[in-house]
C-alpha cells in the first residue's frame, strides 16, 4: 500500500504515544498524529488543547483549537489561565507536540521572525503562542516538522521556545523542568539529541529515504546514531486509520 512522506511522518509521530499518556497538542500535524494514536493503538490517550479542553475526544480533526467538538467531547473545560497555570506549568503533561519554522541543532525553535532584525523582519511569523511553556514544562517534547535546509538551521534567527539552549546543562541552568525535545520526527526520518552533546542526530531513516537526502536537508553537519535504523513502513491499519480521520474532517 503506497503512502506519502507526510503520512509516514504523521504515523511515526502517532506511534510514539501510549494509552494513559497525557498529551498537549496544537492544530495541524500534532493534532492529526495524536488523534490517530487515540483512534488506533492508544485509546486511553488524554488530549489537551490550549483552549482549555481536557480529555477531548473528537471523532474528526478539529478545525482550530477552539472547535466546538473539543469542548463538547472533553472530560473538563477550564479557563485559559487554568490550563497553563494548573495543568501545563506544574509538569502534569507527559508529551508536548510542537512544530517549527526554524529548528536549530540543539532543538531550539523559532516561530517568531526570519531574516532582517526583530523590528524589521524579512518574514513575520505568528509568534510564540503556548510553545515556550510547552517546551519548558511538558515532561518531554516531540517536534514534528518537514525537513529542509530552510527549516533545519545551524542557529535560529530567534529563539521562541527552548530545546537544549547552547547544549548540555542549559535546561537545568534555566530552571526548565521538562526533559526537552526527545525526538524530532520529519518527513525523511527521526532525529534525537546526542546524550552527551545534546546535538540532534539522525536515529531513523524512513523507508526508501537515502541518508544523503537527509544530510542535504539539514543546515548543520548531521551526525547519525551508531545504531541508525529504518522506520517501519506504515501498516495498512495505520494508513486506513489516518485516511479515515482525514476524510471524516
Amino acid at each position: 500500500m503506497s503512502y506519502s512522506s507526510d503520512e509516514m511522518m504523521t504515523i511515526a509521530a502517532a506511534r510514539q504515544l501510549r494509552a494513559g499518556q497525557v498529551c498537549f497538542v496544537g492544530i495541524g500535524l500534532p493534532s492529526t498524529a495524536a488523534n490517530l494514536a487515540r483512534n488506533t493503538h492508544a485509546p486511553g490517550l488524554v488530549l489537551i488543547y490550549e483552549s482549555g479542553t481536557i480529555g477531548a475526544k473528537p471523532d474528526r480533526l478539529p478545525l482550530s483549537i477552539g472547535d466546538g467538538i473539543l469542548a463538547e467531547t472533553a472530560d473538563a473545560v477550564v479557563s485559559v489561565p487554568e490550563i497553563f497555570n494548573y495543568w501545563l506549568q506544574p509538569g502534569r503533561i507527559d508529551v508536548g507536540f510542537l512544530g517549527a519554522a526554524q529548528l536549530d541543532r540543539f532543538g531550539n525553535i523559532n516561530t517568531t521572525v526570519i531574516g532582517g532584525d526583530y523590528t524589521h523582519p524579512k518574514v513575520r511569523l505568528p509568534g510564540a503562542g503556548g510553545a515556550p511553556e510547552i517546551a519548558a514544562s511538558c515532561r518531554e517534547v516531540i517536534v514534528i516538522v518537514r525537513q529542509s535546509r530552510r527549516t533545519f538551521v545551524d542557529s535560529a534567527d530567534f529563539i521562541t521556545s527552548v530545546g537544549y539552549g547552547a547544549g548540555p546543562g542549559d535546561r537545568d541552568r534555566l530552571g526548565l523542568t521538562g526533559a526537552g525535545p526527545t525526538m524530532v520526527i520529519t518527513d525523511l526520518g527521526v532525529l534525537a539529541p546526542d546524550p552527551d552533546t545534546r546535538e540532534l542526530r539522525l536515529t531513523h531513516l524512513h523507508p526508501g529515504v537515502p541518508l544523503d537526502q537527509v544530510r542535504e536537508a539539514t543546515g548543520w553537519e548531521l551526525a547519525t546514531a551508531p545504531d541508525l535504523e529504518e522506520s517501519a513502513a506504515p501498516t495498512e491499519q495505520e494508513l486506513a486509520g489516518l485516511r479515515a480521520l482525514k476524510s471524516a474532517t
Binding site: 473545560v77 479557563s79 497555570n85 513575520r124 505568528p126 509568534g127 542549559d170
Partner: protein, 272 residues
Amino acid sequence: MAEVISLEDAVANLVHDGDSVALEGFTHLIPFAAGHEIIRQGRRDLVLIRMTPDLIYDQLIGVGCARKLVFSWGGNPGVGSLHRFRDAVENGWPAPLELEEHSHAGMANRYVAGASGLPFGVLRGYRGTDLPAQTPNIKPITCPFTGEELTAVPALNPDVGIVHAQRADRAGNVQLWGITGIQKEVVLAARNSLVTVEEIVDELDPRPGGMVIPSWAITYVAAAPAGSQPSYSLGYTIRDNDFYVAWDGIARDRETFRAWIDEHVLHDGVPA
C-alpha cells in the same frame, strides 16, 4: 449595573482614539461585530491587545485603526498567515505597527493580575527565549522563600475590554459556556467593558460548563446576534471555516482587502 444599549452607542461611548482595547475570545466567542463597529466609527491610534489576533485584528490593523499590538500568537488559525498584520510589520502599511509580544501563558497571567488588582503576575515562562530582550514587560523575580528565579509580567488593565457571550438577561447579567477562555478576566481587568451577546433573554437558566458574569461588574451589554461570525458561539453559530480559508486570498492583496472592507464592513447593512 451594566447598561443594556445598542452596539453602536456602546462602542461610541467606550472606545476613543488612542485607547488600549482588548477584544478577546480565545478561538471561541470572538467579538467580530464589535470590531467592525470600531472600524465603522473610524477609531485611530488604538493599542490593540489580544492573545490570538485573528481575522478581526487583521481587519482592524489593515484599515489603520492600530498603532500598537500586544499579543501572543498572530496567525490565521488552521490556515496560515495574517497578511494585513504581516504587511504592517514587514512594510509599515497602512501604518507602522509597534509590537509587544508575549507567550499565551504570559498574556493569560497578565490578564489574571489585572483582574486581581495586582500590579504583576508570576509564571515559569520565557526563560532562555529571545522574547524578554524585546520588551521591558518581562522581568525576572526571585522567590522570597526558596530563592528560585521565576518570571514576572505586568498586569494588563485595558481602557476597554470587549468580549462576546451567548446570552444576557435584561438586568445585564451575562452567561457564556463552552470554551470560556479568558473572557471573565478581560471583563474584570478592563477599566470599562462591553459584552456583546447572541440574545437577551428573560431568565438565564443554568447551563453545564457555563459561567455568569454579574451585571454590576460590566459597563455595557449589547445584543449582537451572530456577533462572533465567522468565528462561532457554541449553541448559536458555527465557525465559517470556508471564510477563514478565503480570507487568506482576500487579505493577501491590499486592494482586494480594501474592497472587502468597503463592501462588508463600511457599507454593512446599507443598501448599495
